[in-house]
């Protein structure tokens, strides 16, 4: 079956602009996760959704970062007023429920100029 998909695959933006990153989880997966992978910080957890609610937002680095999930499916990660330190690969994962294995998408590479 189809895996986790993310769009766009690459995004180049100017400092100060807002960006939206999209994640389509595996059909039927109720849990969805966002991670960030950067050279200096490695792989960091950002936020976790169970259904449409986010029980754990502890990894969001600042209030410029927000995420939502609608219909228990697609999720959007929004970064407002982007900064150069936001440049990273943003990975999305989904799992059948919060106890199950996480399956990752290919990521969105964000470059902030």
């Amino acid at each position: 079956g189809a895996g986790v998909s993310q769009s766009p695959s690459n995004k180049v933006t100017e400092k100060g602009k807002d960006v939206e990153l999209r994640c389509d989880p595996i059909s039927g997966h109720t849990a969805l996760y966002w991670y960030r992978q950067s050279l200096g910080q490695g792989l960091e957890f950002l936020i976790y959704f169970q259904g449409n609610s986010a029980p754990d937002k502890s990894g969001l680095p600042s209030d410029r970062f927000s995420a939502e999930r609608t219909g228990g499916s697609v999720s959007t990660l929004t970064i407002q007023r982007t900064q150069q330190e936001d440049s990273a690969v943003y990975l999305c994962a989904s799992s059948r429920d919060y106890t199950d294995t996480q399956y990752f998408g290919p990521g969105t590479r964000l470059t902030v100029l």
Binding site: Y33, Y35, D56, G59, A93, T101, Q102, F104, P106
Partner: protein, 116 residues
């Protein structure tokens, strides 16, 4: 808070040689344990996982890992490496105390180079 240490940043092995990638974790109880592989420009692919039961787990592509509670380790092994195994390997820990495997904590990764 849990943490994961992968002490080897970069490993080079010859094709056909055996491989062991080290992973040590810090956690107050038995965690959920995972190994993922990432090829250049690709997302993370699950190699294997340990939730409970037999401490030697088999994964895809001929990989196996052994959970050793006394050493807080979950080392990844393969008896004979293929050139296509060249990639970056990540060990990860998930929390068990809240009954979830959410919020994985990853090690910094080990980059494997395979020479022909």
């Amino acid at each position: 808070a849990q943490s994961v240490t992968q002490p080897d940043i970069h490993i080079t092995v010859s094709e056909g040689a055996s491989l062991e990638l080290r992973c040590n974790y810090s956690y107050g109880a038995t965690p959920y344990l995972f190994w993922y592989v990432q090829s250049p420009g690709q997302g993370l692919q699950l190699l294997l996982k340990y939730f409970s039961g037999d401490t030697l787990v088999q994964g895809i592509k001929g990989f196996e890992a052994e959970f050793k509670r006394s050493q807080s380790s979950f080392n990844l092994r393969k008896p004979s490496v293929h050139w296509s195994d060249a990639a970056e390997y990540f060990c990860a820990v998930g929390r068990r105390d809240t009954g979830t495997a959410s919020k994985l904590t990853f090690g910094t990764g080990t980059r494997l180079q395979v020479t022909l």
